[in-house]
Symmetry: C2
Subunit: 559 residues, 2 copies
């Protein structure tokens, strides 16, 4: 999968793998990055040192927080950024024939050794306007990076945030499984979703490729097709099952199950609930149990959950128990999940009581039918007995909002601060190479993020700091931080002598994300009417923004 | 990019490339496909011959049609389907330790030589319930294919449909560019979108990687950052520009532009409209024109469209014209596109007239700010002067509906038809290995799709055929077709002696799609209240569905 190892960087004497998806190459960019590179080169501007900020303007899903993800893949791209001869010849064909040959020689030379990348740690909770990445380097090279870096951050952060939101509404005690592969936006829409949902707090995925690439735990049992592929228990030829401790063998597991099914049917407390169950389903459950006696989890809604699926499951589970195995549970994939999970739970408890099966009442119930934040919330409100949620389509495609709008804006070139104006104030960029800090209050919660110019002194613990809204004159507040955290760290020093932050392991990123969310003031992350987190600039930066703004905006004439 | 060529099939003595994305391997599947494969194998059922239908239940985007796409990638996966030793050892680690070694030997052997795939041609307009693919083969192998095939068809068909809908509302005469790479759902969410938007009727993409992989035309010029990277025309050191016919050289293009800018400012018909324009923008435009004199297209909204961008563009365009070059046009990326395009057009016409510049009024206007079907429709209603639309986020992420719900259902095993029931009638599957036909009426439009049992006679031209709604007793109609088209063709014969349909070239798929849409009755494809297209079953299949349904459904007892 890491076919681009040969492009590895030699920084710090150590090879860094290429991006997970081998399709991520320097050509994964917009054509205009190459036309601009040519125009910069032609104007002799290509090596001017530029600083670009990558940030978003609005949190997704109507919320007030975002989980930053995708950094590792960006750094892997940057570390291995080098055009091949074949790629250069394709660019040559794609640009107008009048382009000079010298440009293609220039393309042959470029890599990211002259680029520096400062970024917030992956898995951090982040807010609008604050740069997630600050990329500095020769303007032509940094522009080539714009599109792939945006692509790698946008969906990663969106889906990690979506996963975190699902985790917040499901609660800590529930198991959350990502089941989105079949409905995701293409093969690595799926693989990316598996990775970033795990960062956002999911426990496992069904996606085997993602399990192999990233070591994410895998989960899965069987489908409706498995159930309907059987017609009757007569199909089962090999009926023997060894007991869990290998001390004995049941020669006819099918009969054992059938005897349990009879007991359930005629039991006093369950009397009249169950009639004839579906025999193809029963055969499928028995076959699955014979294959996986220690991992029996049955999908119970192929024909009828309460009249067929649940009693068939219970009969097989009780037969397994006779042989020392503990069944895992059931999965519901349709219908009223609150009601059905409650009814199934009642039956598990009744069986625990009537047949003296300790723990049977706690048999696990998984639910997996078109779930999303809203349905999880509705289930919570109605009350339910689900222990584990399998979530697919709405999670991995970010159905509620399918894109995050990260942008990549020039903030400085040749040490000259630059601004992009817009009639929409929220679209005006914040100029200058900046430093970014998170200020914490006495309760341990973060209070505000503040951006300062590169050379301003760092905010100090215990010192009174004026935090200003970047665009609104009247919005400002004094803060005396109990703790100050610098947000941007050097993840790619290029050939500078700065120390490169190590890319953490996936599980560490996930732990960081979970801890970050625990440290947020609850009103910022609640589903309903969350409080916006404050993002500010220093007084000095505020003044400079507005000076530059006036300088660049044309003066109108009313007629 | 086709790293899996070594897995190529030998069918017909000819090697078929692997999927475009090397991450598409047999592991790109749900874990439960492997647990089921083990359970099938353990029960001795793994080689039972199964037939699965891939279909969707509801057209996306509130419409009444869908464009089928993704077939080529499915066939490339199937042709190269073979587990490597490394993959098998990962599966071995991922399944419970109790799994028998014989199963992994079985996995070593499997490929798709025993699988047959029948499919509708890629780019065809399709409707709910009709199988897009029918996959037949050993049940365990076909189940392994379920997840990747769904993944490859779902997003492909969704985004091709989205593109087709954008084309329908934009009209045939407009140029449509796909600009979605930076906001797409991951790297190949972007590459896939570029491919399938082209199939759906787009003209070009900004995505260089997609251009190289698929030969899609590329488009792109420059960004806001390019404009704001300049500070003033003093930066331009190399000011000479050779005329288009190489007969003369203008030594100071900067002065030539400035003299035009003055003429525009003081022109009678434009008098008072323009004041001082932004000098960094002017410098950027001049630089871009010097680099690409034959391809000058300027982004005019970095500072102020009408007060700066348009006059700066006109001055550069008129200077270029003095040297025999024809400027391409402007791009608007913010603001009121209907109004701004109209105002810019007026100025182009005024300049054509006042300065005697034939054709200048027709200078191309591209628009590209958060466009989607609705905004295109609103622009049409307001009236606008845009010639070319660049569409990104809403197109490639299918923002209006981020997923298509294709399913893969078992319809027959061992020649036994199977049905999946559901309390929701729309979720009941249509059993049996089927044939599917499209019946055309005398006006050339298609009237109805009909599914029949495998062995029923083919509907004949001129014969009266009863078409029944599969689930609604009262809905039926007689049709006398003027033309009958069989929809499912053999795209993968496995080792059978059927002839394999060739996979068409991308441009042929695109042409097919465009022609298909032209042949649809307009009320089926209109945006507002489209008429549902009829999908039916033969009388014989109808009867069989309902016989099987009664047979499998448990009889309830009211208490």
């Amino acid at each position: 999968m890491e076919a681009k190892g040969n492009r590895a960087s030699e920084k710090a004497g150590r090879v860094m793998d290429g991006p997970t998806n081998p399709m991520v190459t320097p050509l994964l960019t917009d054509l205009y990055q190459f036309t601009m590179a040519y125009a910069y080169w032609k104007a002799g501007k290509h090596n001017e040192r530029a600083v670009f900020d990558l940030y978003f303007r609005k949190n997704p899903f109507g919320g007030e927080f975002t989980v930053f993800a995708g950094l590792e893949e960006c750094i892997k791209l940057i570390a291995n950024f080098k055009l091949t001869e074949e790629e250069i010849s394709f660019i040559c064909q794609s640009l107008p024939g009048s382009c000079e040959e010298g440009f293609f020689n220039y393309l042959r030379e470029i890599d990211c050794s002259d680029v520096e990348v400062y970024a917030i740690s992956e898995g951090t909770v982040v807010f609008p306007k604050v740069p997630l990445l600050r990329v500095e380097g020769p303007v032509a090279v940094v522009q080539l990076l714009e599109t792939p870096v945006l692509n790698l951050v946008n969906f990663a952060s969106l889906v990690a945030t979506n996963a975190a939101r699902h985790r917040l509404v499901a609660g800590k005690s529930k198991m959350l499984l990502e089941f989105g592969l079949r409905r995701a936006q293409g093969p690595d829409g799926a693989i990316g979703a598996s990775k970033y949902c795990y960062i956002g707090g999911f426990d496992a995925t069904s996606n085997v490729a993602a399990g192999r690439l990233f070591g994410i735990p895998l989960r899965g049992t069987h489908s409706h097709a498995f159930v309907s592929s059987f017609t009757s228990p007569d199909e089962i030829l090999e009926k023997s099952l060894c007991s869990s401790d290998r001390s004995s063998t049941c020669e006819d597991f099918v009969s054992l199950v059938n005897s349990w099914l009879n007991k359930i049917k005629w039991s006093k407390s369950l009397s009249g609930i169950f009639g004839e169950t579906n025999q193809s389903e029963l055969a499928a459950f028995m076959s699955y149990a014979l294959a996986f006696p220690s991992n029996f989890l049955a999908l119970v809604d192929t024909y009828d959950v309460m009249r067929s699926g649940v009693p068939n499951f219970c009969a097989v589970a009780l037969a397994l128990r006779d042989l020392g195995y503990k069944a895992v549970g059931i999965r519901l994939d349709s219908g009223d999940l609150a009601y059905l999970s409650g009814e199934a739970r009642k039956i598990f408890h009744t069986i625990e009581k009537e047949f003296g099966v300790p723990g049977f009442g706690k048999t696990s119930i998984t639910a997996s039918n078109d779930l999303n934040e809203e349905t999880l919330d509705a289930l919570n409100k109605q009350g339910h007995e689900v222990d584990c949620f399998g979530i697919g389509t709405y999670l991995v495609t970010c159905y509620a909002q399918a894109a995050l709008g990260c942008v990549f804006k020039l903030v400085e070139i040749n040490n000259q601060p630059r601004i992009k104006l817009s009639e929409d104030v929220s679209k005006v960029s914040i100029p200058c190479k900046k430093r970014c800090y998170r200020l914490y209050g006495k309760e341990g919660y973060s209070l505000v993020d503040i951006m300062t110019g590169e050379n301003e002194p760092c905010p100090k613990v215990g010192e009174r700091i004026l935090c200003r809204h970047p665009f609104s004159e009247s919005k400002r507040a004094y803060v005396v931080p109990k703790r100050v955290e610098e947000l941007l760290k050097c993840y790619w020093p290029g050939k500078s002598d700065k120390v490169r932050e190590e890319l953490p392991a996936l599980d560490d990123i996930r732990d960081h994300c979970i801890k970050q969310l625990e440290q947020m003031r609850p009103d910022h992350i609640r589903r309903l009417n969350p409080t916006p987190y404050k993002v500010s600039v220093s007084a000095k930066l505020y003044d400079f923004i507005h000076f530059l703004w006036l300088n660049e905006a044309p003066v109108g004439e009313l007629q």
